[in-house]
């Protein structure tokens, strides 16, 4: 680890990223441009999140990485070991023990606290991109609060599917001002974005954008009066821990097509099982 500066990035780069983060926190939901650095991993691995984590980590932090809810995917393991190696920080899989959590595609089920920072990996930060590819125009739309186009996207969804079919990266409005892409979390997680005690930071590496939600920020999911937002999930209990309130993945168990629903947040599920909860599929 002596080959690197603490957390890989040099101090000047970290200061530049911290300035972008502070600006993001001062203007919740606003996309702050930053000079993204080459990281020793491909963009698809969340280099935006990694750079934000590098800029906020201190030697006393305990770091956790979630990839689609799990701590043990290749992606999560390699980002965790990257910071073990370059920053020498403690790592954990327990949500409650972590002070900085980098995530892709999920918000932990366990409510976060004021002592925690949640860092999201963001592939496409611009929620208006889908209908308006010109960046000069989307920037103007944000600055003038011209967000009708966002509802055109939802309108198209309903006209095609009969309901709002967008189930990931569901657009939100922050403190009644900026429309924001919450990264590809399931819309089930959207309500957790709002009024969260922890700091939420969003990093897009390839697109060179950082945005942020300070603690207790109001975040509202866009919808229509006659098609209200619903934080839906599979209508089942967790097969392992019997949880009724957690986001579930459907997993195939055998060649006969046997399936079961289990918590996508593996730490949450394990903690519940350790506390004695048992689902119908648990051995």
């Amino acid at each position: 680890m002596t080959d690197y500066n603490f957390a890989y990035l040099d101090e000047q780069t970290k200061r530049m990223i911290r300035r972008a983060i502070l600006k993001g926190l001062a203007i919740p939901g606003y996309q702050v441009p930053f000079a993204s650095r080459e990281m020793p991993m491909p963009y698809g691995w969340g280099t935006g999140g990694v750079q934000v984590s590098a800029a906020v980590l201190t030697p006393d932090d305990t770091f956790k990485v979630i990839d689609q809810g799990a701590d043990d995917t290749t992606n999560a393991v390699s980002i965790r070991s990257f910071f073990e190696r370059t920053a020498g920080v403690e790592t954990t899989t327990a949500t409650t023990e972590a002070s900085v959590i980098q995530t892709r595609h999920r918000i932990p089920e366990e409510p976060l606290t004021e002592d925690q920072i949640l860092v999201y990996q963001v592939p496409i930060p611009e929620p208006l991109r889908f209908l308006e590819p010109r960046e000069s125009e989307t920037r103007k739309m944000h600055s003038l609060e011209e967000y009708g186009l966002m509802h055109v996207k939802l309108y198209e969804d309903i006209s095609r599917h009969g309901h709002i079919a967008t189930s990931y990266a569901y657009p939100v409005k922050v403190e009644g001002r900026y429309v924001m892409d919450p990264s590809p979390i399931p819309k089930f997680d959207n309500p957790k974005l709002s009024d969260m005690a922890a700091i939420q930071l969003f990093g897009a590496g390839r697109e060179q954008r950082i945005y942020a939600l300070p603690p207790y920020t109001q975040v509202v999911s866009l919808d229509f009066e006659d098609h209200p937002f619903e934080a839906s999930k599979a209508d089942h209990l967790c097969g392992l821990c019997d949880a009724t309130d957690s986001y579930l993945d459907e997993v195939i168990m055998d060649d006969q097509g046997g399936r079961m629903f289990v918590c996508s947040d593996t730490d949450y599920c394990e903690a519940r099982r350790a506390a004695g909860h048992k689902g119908k599929d648990a051995a």
Binding site: L131, E146, L149, V152, Y155, I158, D223, F224, D226
Partner: protein, 256 residues
Amino acid sequence: MTPLLSVQGITKHYGAHIGCADVSFDLYPGEVMGIVGESGSGKSTLLNCMAGHLVPDAGQVVFDTRADGPKDTVTMSEPERRMLGRTDWAFVHQHARDGLRMGVSAGGNVGERLMAVGERHYGDIRGKATDWLERVEIDAARVDDRPTTFSGGMQQRLQIARNLVTGPRLVFMDEPTGGLDVSVQARLLDLLRGLVRDMGLSAIIVTHDLAVVRLLADRLMVMKSGRVVEAGLTDQVLDDPQHAYSQLLVSSVLQV
């Protein structure tokens, strides 16, 4: 009566080259003004200066706003001008694809302006979109189809519906019938004439085609080299042109 639009001394250069120069006129509520002239005479430049798409070098474009009465739209703030562009003003482009979102359904195209001004009831938006498709003679069953599957004439009618759905008071049109077959043009003109009359619209129509102004415009301005060389009631200008250039323009059409 207060003019709906009062244009004073509009001038626009492209470098040293004149786009349009010192154009002034008043447009009263319910009036349709035609602008004719040969290619390159400055018609589109003038229209775009009035509609806020181009910034003129000099001059005023005073619009009688609902909230504050007459206001110069050249100097008003950009958000205010863009808001006018989505509410009281409409702009029909010559090429429908410049005025439509080709990747969005017909209903979404018509509904966009409603959503832009805050409508949030899907059923209402869709209902209004369907009504408007019917008003421009597009089968309501096509509401979920994309404009890419529409003919040129249908695309143009869709563009008109998308513009008129918020009940604008002033419509700018740049060659709305250009590039369409003659029979399609005739149908579109009929439709436009009906809408202008029924909605009491004020409009400014740029065209090469004197038949279009004959049918739609109450008054006419003839442009040459960026300047207005003659203006007056449409029938007067067409039947008894005073300026040599207007005479040429009218006679060349009569020969066709």
